[in-house]
C-alpha cells in the first residue's frame, strides 16, 4: 500500500507543536502538542468545548492555527485546506455524515472524485475495501435506506478509499448502537495493526477510549492536561483529569456509558432521593387514549396512548428512537393536534395544538432537538430566557430593559450559563450552555409537569451530571417529570416508573425495581413482557 510502508517507524507520523487557535476572545487550543505514531490508536479525550475538534480541524486543514508547527513524517507542513491534508495522506471520518441520501453507496463514495466517473472501478473498490476490513455493505444500496451504523461504514469506506496513513475518527460512536461500536473498534484495530496506519479517536466517552486506544491525551479548556498509555489509565482518574474535579459515580457511569447496568439500577434507591420524594396520589398530567396520525397516509404516530403522571415522580419513556417519542414530545409542546383522546393537566382539558396551550397549562418542555423548538438562535440569551413569558418583565406590553437584563442575569447565574452576557446571541453559546438556557427558562415558568426529551444528548460529563441532578431535584420539588430518552442507563437511573414505547404504542410499564436491561430490551423490540 502506498503511504503506509517504507517510513521509519521511529519518526512520528504526525507531530503537532504549540498549536494555538483563538476564536475571538476564546482560546480553543492553547499551546497544544500532539504526537502520533504509526501502528497506534491515539485517543483524545475531553469534554465538549475542550478543543479536541478544533485540534483535529487544524490537522485536516479546516482551521488554520494562529501559532504552532505541523510535522508530517518529519517534514514541516502547512495545511491550508482538506485537499492538502488528503494529499498528505490524512483522512477524517466526521461525526456528522456528509452523504447524499438519494444516491447509492458507491455513488456516494465516488462523489468528490475528479475526472471521469469509473463506475465499475468504484464498485469493485468498494467491494474490495468492505471485504478487506469486514465492513459488510451492499454497494448498490441507497444510502437513505441505511441505518446510522451502515452510513458510517460508507463514510469510513469513503475515507479508506483514499488510502490515508493517518486516520481521524471524530466521535464515531455517537450515533451507533453498542454492537455497531464494537464492530467499528475491531475494524479500527485491524487498520492499525495490519497496515501500520496512525489512528486518532476523538471521544468524550471514557469506556471507548479505554477500550480501543493505546495512548490517551486528555484535553480540558483548550489545553492538554494529561497524556498516558492506556494501560496506565482507569476510568476514575481519566474522568478526574477530563473534568478537573471529582464527578459523582452515578452520573459518571451514565455519562461514560459503562455497561454495568444492573449495578447502576441497584444504586438508585440507596441514594435516598427516592425516599425523600413525596409522590402524590392524584395525577397532574393525564394523557387519555391519545392518537395522532401522520399528515400523509394516516399512519399512527401515537396509537391510543394513555399515561398518568403524578407530582414528584419521574416517569421514563424508553424505546428505540422513531417509535413515537418525538411526536409525544411535540404533542406536549403544543406542536401537533390530536386526532382522538385528550390531555388533561390538573383536571382541565388542554386544547392540544393551540399555540402555547401546553406551556400555559403548566407543562415545561426540554425538547429533543433544541434548535427545532427550544431556542431561537438569532435572538439573545435574555430573549431566549424570556420567550415563554415575556409579560413578567413587561408593563403595558412594553418590555422593561432593566428588568429583562436583571431577570436574565439572575437565571444566568443560577444555572451557571456560560455566555458573555444577557445580550450575547444564542448561537454564540456551546451546546451545553444552550441546553441550560432551555432548562432555566422551563423551570423559571414554575411548571407542574416537566417533559425532558433526550435531555443529555450530546452533552459532556459535567453537563450530564448537572442535568441529571436538576431533573431529580425538580421531581423532589414536586414537579411531575416525564423523561423521554433512548439512553437506557439514564432511564434506569432516574425513573420511578418506566413505560416502553414501540410503534407509537405503550407496550409495557415497569416499576423501577422490576426494570432491567433485559426486560426493557425485550419490550423495546416489540415483544410482550
Amino acid at each position: 500500500m502506498t503511504g503506509t510502508g517504507g517510513s521509519d517507524p521511529s519518526v512520528p507520523a504526525v507531530q503537532l507543536t504549540g498549536i494555538t487557535k483563538r476564536f475571538g476572545g476564546i482560546v480553543a487550543c492553547d499551546q497544544v502538542d500532539l504526537t502520533l505514531y504509526r501502528g497506534l490508536v491515539h485517543g483524545i479525550l475531553g469534554e465538549n468545548g475542550a478543543g479536541k475538534s478544533t485540534l483535529m480541524k487544524v490537522l485536516i486543514g479546516l482551521v488554520l492555527p494562529d501559532e504552532g508547527s505541523i510535522l508530517i513524517d518529519g517534514q514541516p507542513r502547512t495545511i491550508h485546506d482538506p485537499l492538502a491534508a488528503a494529499a498528505l495522506g490524512i483522512g477524517m471520518v466526521h461525526q456528522h455524515f456528509s452523504l447524499v441520501d438519494q444516491l447509492s453507496v458507491w455513488e456516494n463514495v465516488a462523489l468528490g472524485e475528479a475526472g471521469k466517473l469509473d463506475s465499475s472501478g468504484v464498485r469493485r473498490r468498494v467491494a474490495a475495501i468492505s471485504e478487506q476490513y469486514g465492513l459488510d455493505i451492499d454497494p448498490e444500496a441507497q444510502v437513505g435506506t441505511l441505518t446510522a451504523g451502515l452510513r458510517q461504514r460508507v463514510e469510513i469506506i469513503k475515507c479508506l478509499r483514499r488510502d490515508p496513513h493517518i486516520l481521524v475518527f471524530d466521535e464515531p460512536t455517537s450515533v451507533l448502537t453498542p454492537e455497531e461500536s464494537e464492530q467499528l473498534f475491531s475494524t479500527l484495530r485491524e487498520v492499525v495493526a495490519a497496515e501500520n496506519r496512525a489512528v486518532v479517536l476523538v471521544s468524550h466517552k471514557l469506556d471507548e477510549v479505554l477500550h480501543a486506544t493505546d495512548e490517551i491525551t486528555i484535553m480540558r479548556q483548550g489545553r492538554v492536561v494529561d497524556r498516558r498509555p492506556t494501560t496506565d489509565a482507569d476510568a476514575r482518574s481519566l474522568a478526574r483529569a477530563m473534568v478537573g474535579r471529582e464527578v459523582s459515580l452515578r452520573s459518571e457511569r451514565a455519562a461514560f456509558g459503562l455497561t454495568e447496568i444492573e449495578e447502576a439500577a441497584d444504586v438508585g434507591p440507596e441514594d435516598g432521593q427516592a425516599a425523600e420524594t413525596v409522590i402524590s396520589d392524584e395525577p397532574v398530567l393525564r394523557i387519555e387514549g391519545v392518537t395522532v396520525r401522520g399528515r400523509r397516509g394516516g399512519a399512527r404516530l401515537l396509537d391510543d396512548i394513555s399515561l398518568d403522571l403524578r407530582a414528584g415522580e419521574i416517569v421514563g419513556v424508553a424505546g428505540v428512537e422513531g417509535n413515537g417519542q418525538r411526536t409525544l414530545g411535540d404533542l406536549l409542546s403544543s406542536l401537533v393536534p390530536l386526532d382522538s383522546g385528550q390531555v388533561v393537566v390538573n383536571d382541565s382539558v388542554v386544547r392540544t395544538g393551540a399555540p402555547g396551550a401546553m406551556a400555559k397549562a403548566g407543562i415545561g418542555v426540554i425538547p429533543e432537538d433544541r434548535h427545532d423548538s427550544g431556542v431561537v438562535l438569532d435572538m439573545t440569551v435574555a430573549e431566549n430566557l424570556l420567550m415563554v413569558d415575556p409579560h413578567r418583565v413587561a408593563r403595558h406590553g412594553v418590555m422593561d430593559k432593566g428588568q429583562v437584563t436583571e431577570a436574565a442575569q439572575q437565571m444566568i447565574e443560577e444555572f451557571d450559563i456560560g455566555c458573555s452576557g444577557p445580550d450575547a446571541p444564542l448561537w454564540s453559546l456551546s451546546g451545553g450552555n444552550q441546553q441550560r438556557v432551555v432548562l432555566a427558562r422551563e423551570l423559571a415558568a414554575d411548571p407542574d409537569v416537566l417533559v425532558a426529551a433526550q435531555p443529555t444528548r450530546g452533552l459532556d460529563v459535567g453537563a450530564i451530571e448537572y442535568m441529571t441532578d436538576r431533573l431529580r431535584q425538580t421531581a423532589v420539588d414536586g414537579v411531575a417529570v416525564l423523561l423521554i430518552s433512548s439512553e437506557l442507563e439514564e432511564i434506569l437511573e432516574l425513573s420511578d416508573r418506566i413505560v416502553v414505547m414501540s410503534r407509537g404504542r405503550i407496550v409495557g410499564e415497569l416499576s423501577h425495581d422490576d426494570a432491567n436491561l433485559e426486560t426493557l430490551g425485550l419490550l423495546m423490540g416489540g415483544s410482550e413482557a
Binding site: Q95, S333, G356, P367, M379, M387, P390, S430
Partner: protein, 363 residues
C-alpha cells in the same frame, strides 16, 4: 468587530460599489456619445443641489419610507410581502373614494382619508393573508399577483363615476381620472428655505421611530421576531402564526396604503397632482421594497435608504436634460440601484457564513 470598524466597512463597501457603478455608467455614457461628468452633476443637482430639489426628494422619500416600514414589519414575522405596489394603489383608491364619496371638507378629512388609505392597503394585503393562513398559499406569490389585480381593479373603478371617476365637467377628453382633491383637503406643504414638501415627511419619520421601538421593545414586537426566526419555538411559546402573521401582513399593507393616500393628498406634481390617474403608483411600491432590502429590514436604516433612493429618482429627472438618451439614463439608474443593494447582500452572506462557521466550530 468593533462598532467603528463595522461602520468603516459599510462606508468602504458603499463607496466601492458606487464608484464601480459610476465607472461602468461612464463607459456606457461615453460609448453612446454622451459626456459622463454632466451626468454626475445632474444627479447631484437634481437630487439636492438645485433650488427646491431636496424638498422634492424628501417628498418622494416619505412614501418610500412608509412602504419600507411596512415591508420591515412583515419581514420580521418571516413573511415575504412583495405586493406593496398594489397595496399602495389600493390605499390611494380607498383614499380617493373616501374623499369624494364619503368625506367632507376640512382638515379632519385629511386625517380620515389617510386612515382610509391605510385601511385599503391592509384589506388588500389581508387577501394574501387569508389565502396564506386559511389555504396555505405562499404569500410571495399571492402578494405579487395581487398587484396586477389591483391595477385592473383600480382601472375598473376609474371607469365608473359612482366609484372613482370624476364627473364630466371636471375632466377633459373622457380621461379616466378622479376628481382633483379640494385645496382644504390636501396635506399642507409648507415652504422651508425654498424647499416645499408635505408634512407627511414628519409623519413617516415618527412612524420609523415607532416601528423601531415597537419591534425592539414591546412584547408584541418580541413575539413577532420570534415567529420570524423560529416558528416552532414561537408556537410552543404561545405565538399564533396565524394571528401574528396575518396581523403583520395587514400592517405591512396598511403602511403601503398610507403611502398611497399620502401621495394622493400631498404629493403635488410628483404624483398625479391630487388626482388618481392610471399608473398613479409609479413604482413607489417596488422601490420601497428595495429600500427595505437596502436597510436589511430594519426601520431606522430605512430612513437613510429611503432618502438615497429618492435622490436617485429626483436626480435621474435632471439627467434626462443633459442630452444623454433616456434609455441610457435608465441603465445608469439601474446600475446605481444595484450598487446600493450589493453591500447589504455581501454583508448578509458573510455574516451568515461566519455564524455558521462559529456554530460548527463549537462542538
Amino acid at each position: 468587530m468593533t462598532r467603528g470598524a463595522r461602520a468603516a466597512e459599510w462606508v468602504v463597501l458603499y463607496a466601492l460599489s458606487i464608484v464601480v457603478a459610476l465607472a461602468i455608467s461612464s463607459v456606457i455614457v461615453k460609448a453612446t456619445g454622451g459626456d459622463w461628468w454632466p451626468v454626475v452633476e445632474a444627479l447631484v443637482d437634481g437630487s439636492i443641489k438645485a433650488p427646491g430639489r431636496w424638498g422634492e426628494t424628501l417628498g418622494i422619500a416619505a412614501p418610500l419610507l412608509l412602504v419600507a416600514l411596512g415591508t420591515v414589519i412583515s419581514a420580521k414575522a418571516g413573511l415575504i410581502n412583495i405586493g406593496q405596489e398594489g397595496q399602495l394603489l389600493m390605499g390611494a383608491a380607498f383614499a380617493v373614494f373616501f374623499s369624494f364619496r364619503i368625506g367632507g371638507p376640512g382638515p379632519l378629512n385629511v386625517v380620515l382619508l389617510l386612515l382610509f388609505g391605510a385601511l385599503g392597503g391592509a384589506v388588500w394585503a389581508s387577501v394574501a393573508g387569508l389565502l396564506r393562513f386559511w389555504r396555505g398559499v405562499p404569500e410571495v406569490l399571492s402578494t405579487l399577483l395581487l398587484v396586477f389585480v389591483a391595477v385592473q381593479a383600480v382601472g375598473y373603478g376609474l371607469k365608473w363615476q359612482w366609484l372613482l371617476l370624476a364627473d364630466e365637467a371636471s375632466r377633459g377628453n373622457r380621461n379616466l381620472v378622479s376628481e382633483q382633491l379640494a385645496k382644504d383637503n390636501r396635506i399642507p406643504r409648507p415652504d422651508i428655505f425654498g424647499n416645499e414638501f408635505p408634512i407627511t415627511v414628519y409623519v413617516a419619520l415618527a412612524l420609523a421611530l415607532a416601528v423601531a421601538y415597537v419591534l425592539a421593545r414591546t412584547v408584541w414586537g418580541f413575539r413577532l421576531r420570534m415567529l420570524g426566526h423560529n416558528p416552532r419555538a414561537a408556537q410552543r411559546s404561545g405565538v399564533s402564526s396565524t394571528v401574528y402573521g396575518a396581523t403583520a401582513l395587514a400592517i405591512g399593507g396598511a403602511f403601503a396604503g398610507l403611502a398611497g393616500a399620502a401621495m394622493f393628498a400631498g404629493g403635488g406634481f410628483s404624483f398625479g397632482n391630487y388626482r388618481l390617474v392610471p399608473g398613479f403608483s409609479d413604482f413607489i411600491g417596488w422601490t420601497g421594497l428595495l429600500v427595505a432590502l437596502m436597510a436589511r429590514e430594519r426601520a431606522l436604516p430605512a430612513v437613510v435608504a429611503a432618502f438615497v433612493f429618492a435622490m436617485l429618482r429626483t436626480g435621474a429627472g435632471f439627467v434626462n436634460s443633459t442630452g444623454v438618451e433616456s434609455r441610457i439614463t435608465d441603465v445608469v439608474q439601474g446600475l446605481l440601484v444595484l450598487a446600493l443593494l450589493v453591500p447589504p447582500a455581501v454583508v448578509f452572506l458573510r455574516d451568515r457564513r461566519r455564524a455558521r462557521a462559529a456554530a460548527t466550530e463549537r462542538v
